[in-house]
Every structure is written in C-alpha cells, then in structure tokens.
C-alpha cells in the first residue's frame, strides 16, 4: 500500500500489533482468574447463582468472552502476517517488516495455543458440575 497513514492511524496500527501478539495471553489470564474465583467463591458461599445468573452461565461467560477476544487477536495476527508478506526495499523498511513478520508468527502460535487452553476449560465446564468437591 502506498498511502501514508497519519499519526492516529500509526498509533492504532502499533497497538493492533500488540493486540495481535499478546491478546490471547491476556484473554487467557482473565479467563483463568475470573473462572477460578467465581467458581471458588460462589461454591464456598453455598449457592449456585451469581446475582441473577446461574453459576454455570456466569462461568460460561468467563470462557466464551475471552475465547472471542482470542479469536480476534488471531485474526489480527493473520492480517499482520499477510501485510508483511512482501519485503520492501531499503534497509530500515526491511528491518521493520521483518521484525513485524516475526511477531506475527509468534502471535499466531500464541493465540492458537491460548485458544486451545480456553476451549479445554470450556470442555471442563460442560463435563464437570461446578460445585462438586
């Protein structure tokens, strides 16, 4: 592409890159902490509801939302990967694109890995009753 993006677009693009690399990791951390603490605390309180929601639904949200965020990061990483397919001319652009492409590869694998973990957590939610000791 030959357009020259303005500073706002550059900022957004730079942030998008980090979402593509680390989005899945952060989503997984949220999933783990939310799922674990909601399960522990609600069961310790002796109920199976969180406010108006049944416990299973609440934990389900802690699985589904992070999973969606991870899918988004995966798509962003794929986009980054496509956008860095061609190595441009010149020492500096070459370095920049090469660096971004490596981050894209790292991001794709990270997001796939974290998506797997979150989905496995979802399977556990389907199979196991939330408050059995």
């Amino acid at each position: 592409m030959s357009t020259h993006p303005g500073p706002r677009a550059r900022l957004a693009g730079g942030l998008l890159l980090w979402y593509a690399v680390l989005g899945g990791a952060i989503a997984w951390a949220v999933h783990l902490i939310a799922g674990w603490s909601v399960d522990e605390l609600t069961c310790a309180g002796g109920s199976e509801r969180v406010g108006a929601l049944p416990l299973r639904t609440a934990i389900g949200l802690a699985v589904v939302l992070p999973a969606l965020a991870t899918v988004g990061a995966l798509l962003a990483a794929a986009l980054l990967w496509r956008r860095t397919a061609r190595t441009p001319q010149g020492v500096e652009p070459e370095r920049r694109v090469g660096r971004s492409r490596m981050l894209a590869v790292v991001g794709i694998w990270l997001n796939l890995l974290f998506l797997t973990i979150i989905v496995l957590g979802g399977v556990a939610l389907i199979v196991l009753p939330p408050c059995q000791r």
């Binding site: 592409m1 693009g13 956008r83 694109v97």
Partner: protein, 209 residues
Amino acid sequence: MNARGGIAAATSTEALTTEQPVGRSAGWWGMVMFVATEATLFACLIGSYFYLRFQHGGPWPPDGLTAPTLARPLLMTAVLLPSSLPVVWAERGIRRGQRWRLRTGLAVTLVLGVTFLILVATEYAEKLREFTITTNAYGSLFYVITGFHGFHVLVGLTMISWLLVASLRRGTFGAHRHDRVRNAAIYWHFVDVVWAAILFTIYLSPRLS
C-alpha cells in the same frame, strides 16, 4: 477521514509496522519495571486479603470487630489522589524549562502527602484501641497492607523532597534534563493508584454483601 478510510489506514503495512513503544530512556524503562514488580507485590497482598476473607466464611471483619467507617478514608483519598496533579503540572513545567513550576508543584505535593500520613496516624490511633496487628488475621491484614502502603508514601515523599532540594540548587534540572523528575512522578502516580485499590479492599469491600 471516514471510519472505513481510518481502518484501512490503521491496518496498512506502514501503520501495523509502526515502532511502538519507542524512544523511551533506559531510566524510564527501569522505573516502569520496578513499578510493575511492586504492583505485583501489592496484588499479592490484596489477593491474600480476599483469600483469607473468603476462606474464613462467617462475618467479616471477624470476632465482632466493626466494619471500618468511611469518613476518614474518604478524606485521605481526597488528599492523596489529587496530589498527582501538581506533580504532572511540575513535570510539564520543567519540560519547558520553568523551574518555578517544578518547585511549586513539588512543594504542594509534599504538603498533601504529609497530610495523608498524618491522617494515617490518626486512623491508627483510633483503630489501635479496637484491635492490633496481633488480634487476628484481619488485624494483621489491615495493618500490614495499610502500613506497607504508608511506607511507600513515605518513600515517595522522600523522593519528592529530594527532588525539591535538588531543584533549589541551580544547574540540576531543565528542559533537557528531567529524567529524575519523571521517574519520581511515575512512582508517585503508582502510589496513588495503589491507594485506590486499598481503599476498595480494606474500606469498601467489607460493606459489600
């Protein structure tokens, strides 16, 4: 620019490969990493608070202690949280080479911070009549968490006074040299934010449910 054009620009190769973060100094990174590890420390303390609270079951605070009153802590918040503003103002000033703004801003923050510590002392004087650090786990948590934060305020104030003293001398800070001001500012903002977390944990959360 319309939204679609914006998205196209932000997802172009050039935008995506923009270098970010960029251009920070070594000192900035060092302070940010230090604050990151300190924040984790507080997260562990606060996590321990909630862990002990929920594993305890039963009423909280336990053993018939009353839930903390809110008047003074809210006053403390009103003193500490705004104390970040003069620091920001001072830092902006010295970036333009205005030393008087640096001095004034730091002095105001110093006063606010010391006021906060005095309020902590009166809070302790009152609480100690009801329970101490050895009364039960709640007492231990209360004093260790607030005390550890108070210690951080003290460290922050030491930095601020140190900057103030240094800035009274000529030839220390200016538009091109203010790394230390910025680093101390980062620390001070951190101490402020942690207080918000502590206010929620120690003072507000016992009143929820």
